[in-house]
Symmetry: C2
Subunit: 319 residues, 2 copies
């Protein structure tokens, strides 16, 4: 079975680990979000790609969900002593190595997709991880700060401000001119099923879909497209998805997110059991819907979610 | 008293610490060797400048004489896991920060001299540290390796090969086209005394003198120029100076090194007490010479050496 998964960071990575346990023999291609990439200290940092790679490759800091296990922060401490920031972005000593290797390879002329493949040679994540694009896309967020309207990098919004102010707009800068990375459209065309994990629908999955050609390829693939709601009981399971949903006028409910993707894209949608009441509304929108437990408390629970998603996909296919 | 010191790495840095203790009120300008600079992992590394800065700024690893105290090597370990070398060059996590800040500033258009000043703002070494040049100079060494003649970077010769093969030639590539950094010639012209610490006469002091204008400025400064022999009892006190001396046809003796600098440049020369027999030979070459203990066993012993050098300078001046 060939499965394509559109993934952001922590939520996507954890879902993928459950999916691997649910279907160990599946051929999984992950299209990773690069909209939260950022240049820091002259280095290209790809937080979402790295979170997927470290999580599936056994190098993740399990508690925080991002960054490396057994990490130290001496380099960052020293940068601070030199007065060089940003201090709010926590790059560890081990993690720095990934960004140094990536930056050197990009400087040598390799596209990000080739660099990601090279990094995965070490981590062996058990999936094919492809960035959504080799082109530079950076999600920017418009906010009102100190009475002034400012446009800041997504990471500054997410990590420094902890989404503490309202996002007025979320713009994946560069997405319109971006091309899908080599292999992305081919993987979608050859997929048996396409999954949207409970990742952020705006700044993770939404950014991937903003690369021209990807949304169309998914809609036209002719295979079941099933998503899992990142909203449980009107609040994001983790992260601050509600803040960026508001910016695009989408309510923070499992139903609203399904409708935001739309029946033209989505064939099936899993909501949590606490949102069972949403099922008729989602189905009324033309999207087959089931209510099942959606808390990724451990890999076993996550594997059950993956099995439910694949079962729903088979239901869709059988129609 | 305005003192100019031409310094390499460990030997130069330790001598400077003694000099500071000997004459705490002196105004000391250090002209640092940059011939052993190397580009690693996309970063500009300046080992000699950093050794001086860390030693005088209190951040040095005292035992090894280079690199940072309380250092970890996680980043390097991870680079190794990615198969990215060289593994023989020991950049620590804390040390990396210096190279990242330097590389970013150079990328932003600052010359190395301005960058060095900015780094010293943090370290407060108590001297003015100026690189010999803002231009790129890299010392290369011609060797015979596996039956083949190869030209390798000085660091590869020194650190990877531990100078275990004979150097056939030592070439400060780029030196001929280099210009002294801003402040270098001015400091020399305003100096009351100029000192050559017991640094390597070829790859440290020699490289500085290879930048057109510096040797001439020293010779014409009209102030005492006094050096300390890095050779004690026919062997280098530390390091492998004998290997590179042989490459330029200079014997590994205190006398031969003094003659290599020459009476046109050097007014006074300190040799160790075990080399007291050299004194008449050095003086016959037109260089005033004294035999005093030259082992930098601790700062107090080093301060005594510095006082002897300054005393010899006064003798020269009185003539």
């Amino acid at each position: 079975m060939r499965i394509v998964v559109l993934a952001g960071g922590i939520g996507g990575a954890r879902f993928l680990r459950g999916l691997q346990q649910a279907v160990p023999d599946a051929d999984i291609t992950v299209i990773g979000n690069t909209g939260d990439d950022i240049h820091l200290f002259g280095l290209k940092v790809c937080p979402d790609l790295d979170t997927v790679m470290y999580t599936l490759g056994g190098g993740i800091n399990e508690e925080q969900g991002w960054g490396r296990a057994d990490e130290t922060f001496h380099l960052k401490e020293e940068l601070g002593a030199y007065g060089v920031g940003p201090e709010w972005f926590g790059l560890g000593d081990r993690d720095f190595a990934t960004h140094i290797v990536r930056t050197q390879m990009i400087g040598a002329g390799y596209p990000l997709s080739a660099v990601t493949e090279a990094l995965c040679d070490r981590w062996q994540p058990g999936v094919r991880l492809i960035p959504m694009t080799d082109d530079r896309v950076e999600t920017h967020v418009a906010v009102e700060l100190d009475g002034e309207r400012k446009v800041i990098h997504f990471q500054e919004y997410w990590v420094r401000l902890r989404a503490s102010v309202a996002a007025e707009a979320v713009v994946p800068v560069g997405a319109e001119q971006a091309k899908p990375a080599p292999g992305v459209l081919e993987a979608i065309a050859e997929a048996d099923v396409i999954l949207f994990p409970p990742s952020n629908p705006i700044v993770s999955v939404g950014t991937i879909l903003a690369v021209p050609g990807i949304r169309e390829a998914i809609a036209e693939a002719g295979v079941p497209v099933v998503g899992l709601s990142p909203i449980v009981g009107d609040a994001p399971v983790r992260g601050m998805a509600d803040k960026v949903l508001a910016a695009v006028g989408v309510e923070s409910t499992a139903t609203a997110v399904a409708e935001h993707y739309g029946s033209g894209l989505l064939d099936g949608w899993l909501v949590d059991t606490v949102d069972a009441a949403c099922v008729p509304d989602v189905e009324a929108a033309g999207i087959r819907c089931r209510a099942v437990p959606l808390m990724m408390t451990d890999t076993e629970a996550t594997a059950r979610m993956a099995r439910e998603a694949l079962a729903l996909a088979e239901e869709v296919r059988a129609v």
